[in-house]
Symmetry: C2
Subunit: 173 residues, 2 copies
DNA sequence: CCCATGTCAGTATCACTGAAATAA
DNA sequence: CTTATTTCAGTGGTACTGACATGG
C-alpha cells in the first residue's frame, strides 16, 4: 500500500515518501491513463473520451442547451464550444438555435451519433464495466465518495464551477 | 448516491442512467477538477500540477535520469522533455549530462526548486491532505485499490506504458 | 440600458508519433 | 553496426481569459 511509484523504480520500499505524495501519484496515474486512453480512442475510433461522454449525455437529453451541458461537465462554456465544434465538424452532433430563445444553442445527435449511442462500448467504458463487475458494491461506493470529496475540495479552493450559468428552470429535454 | 450529474441539473433522480456511465462521470469530474486546479496553480504560482509532481520526485531522487522520470510518471519520454524544458526555462530545475553515460540527462533542483520542496504545500496537495486526514484508512485504501485497478485496466487494452525504456539497474540517486 | 448565452481569438500545457542526434 | 537515450518537429485536444455579438 505504500510508495507505489518508488517501488516500481527500485523494487523495494525506500525512503519516507509521505502519504500525501504517494496518494497523489495514484491519482495522477489515473489521470494519465485516462488521457492516454482518450488519445488512443481518437486514433482508433475518431472520438476522444470527453467527446464520447458528451455524446452519451446528449443521447440522454436530446436538444440540451450548451449551458446545461457545460454545467454537467463542469467545464467553461468556451471549452464546450470547442468540443461541440469538433463533434459537429466530424458529424456526430447537430446544433440549432432555440426557437423560443434565440441565444440558446440546442444540441442533438445525428444518425452517426446515435449509432455510437447504441453501438459497442468505448474502451474506457469497457474498463469501468469490468471493474464494476468484479468489485464489491461497498468498495465502489467508498471510492465514489472519496473521489467526489476530492473534486469538491479542489473546487472549494477558488470559486465554484467554471460555468456559473444555465441555472434557469428550463429542462433540457 | 446516484446519477450525480443528472441530479445537479434537474434536482431529482431521473431516468435510467446506467451505473457505468454514472461512475464514469464521477471519474471525469475528478479529472476536470485536477486540470482546473493545475491551470489555476499555473496562474497563481507559476507551476502546474504535473510540473510540481516532477519537482517533488526530483527532490526525492536528485540527479534522476529523464528515462526514469518518464517511467515513474508513465508518460512518453518526449512528453517529459516538454515538461522539463518548461521547468528549466522558469528556473526550477537544471539538467546536465551524465558523466558516465553521455546519452543520459540528469535532472536536479535549483535553489528555487528546492524552496518549493520545503515551502507551503500546493493547492492540490492541500486538498489531498485534508481528505486523507478526515477519511478512515480502510476507505482510502479501498479507493487506492480501485483507482489502481482502473489504471491497470485502461493500460491493458493496448500495450503497456508509453515509456518502455530506462529499465536498467542504475539507481537514479 | 442591462443581463444572459454562446462563440471567437489568443495562449498555454499535455500527450502523442515519427524522425533525428548522440553516445554506448 | 546495432541499440539506448533523449530531444526535436509537428499535430491535436482540452482549458482557460477576455472580448464580442446577439437576443431577452
Amino acid at each position: 500500500m505504500r510508495h507505489a511509484f518508488a517501488e516500481s523504480l527500485l523494487g523495494k520500499a525506500p525512503l519516507g515518501l509521505d502519504d500525501v505524495l504517494d496518494f497523489l501519484s495514484v491519482i495522477w496515474a489515473l489521470d494519465h491513463a485516462l488521457q492516454r486512453s482518450s488519445k488512443r480512442m481518437e486514433a482508433t475510433m475518431g472520438i476522444t473520451g470527453p467527446q464520447r461522454l458528451v455524446i452519451r449525455i446528449v443521447g440522454r437529453f436530446p436538444g440540451i442547451s450548451a449551458g446545461h451541458l457545460a454545467a454537467l461537465l463542469h467545464v467553461h462554456p468556451s471549452t464546450l464550444t470547442g468540443i461541440l465544434n469538433r463533434l459537429e465538424r466530424n458529424g456526430w452532433v447537430r446544433r440549432r438555435s432555440d426557437p423560443r430563445d434565440g441565444r440558446r444553442s440546442l444540441t442533438g445527435l445525428t444518425d452517426k451519433g446515435l449509432s455510437v449511442e447504441i453501438e459497442t462500448e468505448g474502451v474506457i467504458e469497457n474498463a469501468i464495466r469490468r471493474i464494476l463487475e468484479r468489485t464489491p458494491r461497498e468498495k465502489i461506493q467508498a471510492t465514489r465518495e472519496v473521489l467526489e470529496s476530492i473534486s469538491v475540495e479542489l473546487s472549494k479552493a477558488w470559486g465554484s464551477d467554471p460555468s456559473e450559468s444555465a441555472g434557469s428552470g428550463e429542462e433540457p429535454a
